[in-house]
């Protein structure tokens, strides 16, 4: 059973969801169809599992090899971000209507965009600023773990562009900056002949930060 600090707002934990993915069993399966937080958690865990498979396929540092702090960090952030969080107001056509997005839904969207980059997994995905005030300046902060061999700056630039596009479509937030930080580069255990030359950043090296920077204009989209 999960501890209170482990539990999502619905009472389930990432451990419950992980067990469900492994075994197909959970105490109240009907709950999963009713809980957006659990559904987002399951989606994130599936993407993490896919990245784990990529690591294994590439014969790089495997999750669980003793150097899996990056995975623990990701799971820790995921646990926080699955909560609904603050309510983000949306413009209503009719006075009196209250239309909102949850902070959790936007964080999950940011995470899914970041996770969709090949060889990358989102660590921390945060929205900084007063989300409850329409038009208030908001900064997006994303931390990434990237599998060794993938171009870091290109990953970060692509992520910034994709996030700017997706967030302008799916929210009414005034995004003034998107900061992307590569916090982990997952080191190969036995680099193959096709691996990048020595000297490329590896885990433990200073983490490059790309940003702060404003969201790219549409012209910057490749």
């Amino acid at each position: 059973m999960s501890t209170p600090s482990d539990a999502l707002s619905c009472g389930h934990s990432l451990a419950d969801l992980s067990e469900y993915l492994d075994t197909g069993q959970i105490g109240d399966p009907g709950h999963l169809a009713e809980c957006p937080e659990c559904q987002s958690g399951l989606a994130s865990l599936r993407r993490l599992a896919a990245l784990g498979n990529e690591l294994l396929d590439a014969d790089t540092a495997a999750a669980g090899s003793g150097s899996d702090d990056w995975m623990k960090t990701i799971l820790g952030n995921l646990r926080l971000e699955l909560r609904p969080g603050r309510s983000i107001p949306l413009r209503a056509d009719t006075p009196g209507d209250v239309l909102t997005e949850t902070e959790g839904s936007v964080s999950a969207l940011i995470r899914s965009v970041a996770d969709s980059l090949p060889g990358a997994a989102a660590g921390k995905c945060r929205l900084y600023g007063d989300l409850t005030e329409p038009g208030a300046p908001i900064t997006v902060g994303v931390e990434l773990a990237v599998v060794y061999g993938h171009p870091l700056e290109q990953r970060a630039a692509t992520l910034r562009q994709e996030l700017a596009t997706v967030l302008s479509r799916q929210t009414e937030l005034n995004i003034t900056a998107i900061d992307v930080t590569i916090t982990d580069v997952l080191e190969p255990r036995n680099p193959g002949p096709g691996a990048p030359a020595a000297g490329a950043p590896v885990a433990g090296a200073p983490a490059p930060t790309v940003g702060p920077g404003g969201p790219p204009t549409p012209q910057e989209k490749p």
Partner: protein, 131 residues
């Protein structure tokens, strides 16, 4: 100003339950809506959930409220998931408009909370752009 919804317990009188089911169908038919979740999280509706478990009656996913018994619905609350292929703010407004149209001519306030945003578009964009 929106009238606060009366605290719900996830269950409704039979006519209200029928209306809630109707509204759920209306909302599900709005382009971009992928899911309708219980309007109140489980921890807020634990009594209703327990009652549903005993009676086998499904919990309503749309909260409807009226100011007095027998009066028309004055407020509707719903939580939805939306597709990444549609702009979420537009979907929220479309849901409010659909609810209002369904209950017309009675005035009603609508609360729409988006609790999940699909990432189909993001996935498509990433897949199309090999790096």
């Amino acid at each position: 100003m929106t009238e606060p919804l009366s605290p719900g317990d996830g269950t409704h009188a039979p006519d209200a339950a029928a209306l809630a089911a109707e509204l759920q169908s209306v909302i599900e038919a709005v382009a971009g809506v992928t899911a309708v979740y219980p309007a109140r999280p489980l921890w807020q509706t634990i009594a209703g959930a327990a009652r549903s478990a005993v009676t086998g009656e499904a919990r309503s996913r749309v909260d409807v409220a009226s100011s007095d018994t027998g009066r028309p619905v004055t407020a509707v609350k719903v939580r939805i998931g939306v597709s990444g292929a549609h702009p979420a703010p537009h979907v929220a407004r479309a849901v409010a408009a659909a609810v209002r149209q369904h209950l017309s001519p009675h005035p009603v306030t609508v609360q729409v909370g988006i609790v999940q945003i699909g990432s189909e578009e993001a996935a498509d964009a990433s897949g199309a752009q090999e790096m």
